[in-house]
């Protein structure tokens, strides 16, 4: 089918350890229904490496509910084992979505 929603943007993820306990995951591209699977896979991989995963969203302009669901699920899994999911370099648009959903309770926004 032509309008397959999974055929959306294909984000790129880069993983690198920044502090002893923190794994930094840089995302390039949008986080929406089209890239939710890729985001989930990248976070799963990162969770296996570290209890603290920091997602650098410098280039992300937009976050939809599917991506939000993936972030929340990852954050809950990390929190359950004493870790956490952090977002850094959050754009104003993403910030607005985070504020609107009060998601900062679980997903830690750091400067």
């Amino acid at each position: 089918v032509d309008d397959d929603p999974t055929r959306g943007t294909r984000p790129q993820f880069q993983q690198r350890r920044v502090e002893e306990s923190v794994l930094l995951l840089s995302v390039e591209g949008e986080l929406d229904i089209g890239s939710a699977d890729a985001l989930r896979a990248a976070l799963d991989a990162a969770e296996r490496e570290s209890d603290i995963v920091r997602l650098d969203t410098r280039d992300v302009q937009f976050l939809d509910s599917s991506a939000l669901g993936v972030l929340l699920a990852s954050a809950q899994r990390l929190a359950a084992r004493g870790g956490r999911l952090e977002l850094t370099n959050v754009s104003p648009a993403v910030r607005r979505i985070l504020d609107m959903t009060l998601i900062a309770r679980t997903v830690h926004v750091i400067p």
Binding site: V1, D3, P5, Q61, D64, L102, I103
Partner: protein, 700 residues
């Protein structure tokens, strides 16, 4: 000139001849040898016994002795110890009283026979050309050329049996008039003509003019030009593949000595035909694979299977059949959905007949029978009785006979164990007949078609189920809210078969107030639909108890947390407004992770309503609050889901939405306003794959 002089001159002539000439006495001692023989034996050997001369030791003593005994030896091939082939003639020399006194011999070294060698070389050349031929047609061309150039015929034709059971057809011809070729283009194998006879008997026929007239009257009067003919079967070890016909102007051309070259040519040709036909079988197998691949491409292009089946039928007609029809069972009826033939007029004729004479589901043959049994029907050669049996009347029988239907395969369309229809492939005017290998191909094609039909039907069914389910999640009709003009738009995103996660609702709370709700469940499909159902129905129930927006959202949150969902996190965003009509009217709005509803004042200013609250279904202790505003006449309330602004994410969707609201006139109807907002959303540069829901209330 005297007799003795005459004898002298014979000996002189023999001395200069290009053959060896010897006179031996009773003891087989060489009395005289001509120059050629002297050269051959390496010097003058007169006086020596034959068996002592190495070159002549080849001639077995008993042959010379036979001649000495009085028997002339004519054209005897001898080859002695060194293997050198010699053509020997020997005549006894008799004394006056008739007693043999010696032998005169001529010896010809056949290994030196340049003409023979040329023949062999020609055959070798032909063999190598034939070995390089890729198709039966090329083999036929090379063989016909060789018939003229190497064999010396004035006309040559190669006739091939294309498929078992089909007539002989001229594949290549040289030196014949166009009329002759026309007349003999196709020859049934039971005809009493030499080429048909050699195919039947697998033995060559050689004939002169008299033989032809006597033995083959069916051929008619032979042309004056030719005086001898040869017809040779072209066979490889397993079967006869055709015949080689050669015509000669010289009656001597079919003398036994001339025949080995023709037989050799025919044998080489037969082997080359076998090889080429194997190569063609492989190419054919590749073609079939390609046809199946193309069929799969055509069938997967669209879900409109009536159209793709017609394309499939046309594909089959290009490569595999003269006619192709696809018949399917639809609503209990047998319907011919596709018919194809190279000639559109023929198709139109058959289409008319199909309308006049619908398929009889109980017919003993053809598509109805195949659909009932689920088994392929393969009729390699359609007998006339079958045409009579299937024709309802004389007119149809006449048409069917005119169509020249010869061979048919009808394969069932089976998917997931059910027979959906049948695919018929028919050979007619091309004259060919289906072989058992074609049955497999037809069944492969039918399987692919069946799968395409099944997929398309499943898709349609799912699409209908999705529509029904979606409708159950939305109010069928918006209620009349006193003092307000209300309208909604809903558009499921994605592929049309997946139930969306957006919902909205407007209902009275029983105390004169109205609850307005909009929400968006994360995800799609059945799990999302379950949560949507839970959210909507919980909101209604909770509002009966206490319609305060925070209470309604908290109830939904608790219900969602209780709802077991699969491993993926499912949550919901929602905005709820409690509307109280009056002077002025008021609305209290609470939000849970949802974009703020917008209030466009009659003067064009835009306000965002509600305060940020936590997503529903995530936290046991939600953080929710409400905000109340007054609404004046002409004010317009917009509740929406993020599908509206999402497509504009890179161009400020919320800003654009606010602009859209501002441009609406103060007297715009709720329906027009909702439609405008939807247009704006759909005009977004990004994909519109997300659902979108829009709810507009305008204070009158």
């Amino acid at each position: 000139m005297g007799v003795a002089g005459s004898a002298e001159s014979v000996i002189a002539a023999l001395d200069g001849a290009p053959v060896g000439f010897a006179l031996v006495d009773r003891e087989l001692r060489l009395v005289h040898a001509n120059a050629r023989l002297a050269e051959w034996v390496g010097g003058d050997a007169a006086g020596r016994l034959m068996r002592e001369i190495p070159a002549l030791a080849e001639v077995p003593a008993q042959v010379a002795e036979r001649a000495l005994a009085g028997t002339p030896i004519l054209d005897e091939h001898v080859s002695g110890r060194t293997g050198r082939p010699i053509l020997l003639n020997a005549f006894p020399v008799l004394s006056d009283d008739g007693a043999p006194t010696g032998v005169i011999m001529t010896l010809r070294d056949m290994s030196d026979w340049s003409l023979e060698r040329a023949h062999l070389e020609q055959l070798a050349t032909i063999a190598s050309r034939l070995a390089a031929a890729a198709t039966p047609e090329e083999v036929a061309e090379i063989t016909a050329d060789a018939g003229i150039e190497a064999i010396g015929a004035s006309a040559a034709a190669v006739l091939l049996v294309r498929r078992s059971g089909t007539p002989l057809e001229i594949a290549s011809a040289r030196g014949s008039s166009a009329e002759t070729l026309d007349e003999w283009q196709r020859i049934d194998r039971d005809t009493e003509v030499p080429v048909a006879q050699v195919v039947r008997d697998r033995a060559p026929v050689f004939m002169r003019r008299d033989d032809a007239v006597r033995d083959h009257p069916a051929v008619g009067t032979p042309s004056d030009r030719h005086h001898a003919w040869a017809a040779l079967p072209l066979e490889s070890h397993d079967e006869v593949r055709g015949a080689l016909a050669l015509s000669f102007t010289d009656a001597g051309s079919i003398e036994p000595s001339e025949r080995p070259a023709m037989l050799a040519l025919a044998a080489l040709c037969g082997q080359a035909l076998e090889r080429a036909s194997l190569a063609r079988d492989i190419a054919l197998a590749n073609d079939r694979l390609r046809l199946l691949a193309d069929a799969s491409d055509v069938l997967s292009e669209t879900l409109d299977y009536e159209r793709t089946l017609q394309q499939l039928a046309e594909l089959a007609v290009q490569r595999l059949a003269d006619w192709c029809t696809v018949t399917i069972v639809e609503g209990g009826e047998i319907v011919d959905v596709a018919v194809a033939h190279a000639d559109p007029e023929q198709v139109a004729l058959v289409r008319r007949l199909q309308q006049e004479y619908p398929q009889d589901p109980d017919a003993p043959n053809g598509a109805p029978a195949v659909i009932r049994s689920g088994r392929t029907e393969y009729i390699p050669e359609i007998p006339d009785e079958l045409l009579v049996a299937v024709s309802p009347d004389e007119r149809i029988l006449g048409i069917l006979r005119d169509l020249g239907l010869r061979s048919v395969i009808t394969a069932p369309l089976i998917a997931r164990g059910r027979t959906l229809g049948a695919l018929s492939l028919v050979l007619a005017e091309s004259g060919a007949m289906y072989q058992p290998a074609d049955v497999e191909l037809a069944e492969d094609l039918a399987n692919r078609a069946a799968l395409a039909i099944d997929n398309a039907r499943l898709y349609r069914e799912r699409s209908q189920i999705a529509d029904t389910l979606q409708a159950s999640l939305l109010p069928p009709v918006l209620p009349d809210v006193p003092g307000f003009d209300v309208a909604a738009r809903y558009r499921p995103g994605g592929d049309g078969v997946t139930v969306g996660g957006d919902f909205y609702d407007v209902f009275p709370t029983g105390d004169g107030r109205w609850l307005v709700a909009i929400g968006d469940v994360c995800g799609k499909g059945a799990p999302a639909a379950t949560l949507t159902g839970v959210a909507r129905h919980t909101a209604r129930a909770a509002a009966m108890d206490d319609p305060e927006p925070v209470h309604v959202l908290a109830s939904v949150n608790a219900a969602l947390l209780r709802t077991d969902t699969a491993n993926d996190l499912r949550f919901c965003t929602a905005a709820v407004g409690l509307l109280e009509a009056g002077s002025p009217s008021r609305i209290a709005v609470a939000r849970a992770g949802h974009p703020p509803p917008l209030l466009r004042r009659a003067d064009g200013t835009i306000e965002e309503l509600g305060i940020n609250g936590t997503l529903l279904g995530v936290y046991e202790d939600p953080e929710l609050g409400s905000q109340k505003v007054a609404i004046g006449p002409g004010d317009l309330l917009l509740f929406y889901t993020d599908g509206v602004t999402e497509s504009w994410w890179n161009a400020g969707g919320e800003q654009r939405l606010a602009d859209t609201l501002r441009t609406l006139g103060s007297d715009v109807s709720a329906a027009d306003a909702a439609a405008q907002v939807e247009r704006m959303a759909l005009a977004g540069a990004g994909s519109t794959s997300d659902d979108l829901a829009i709810l507009v209330l305008r204070a009158l």
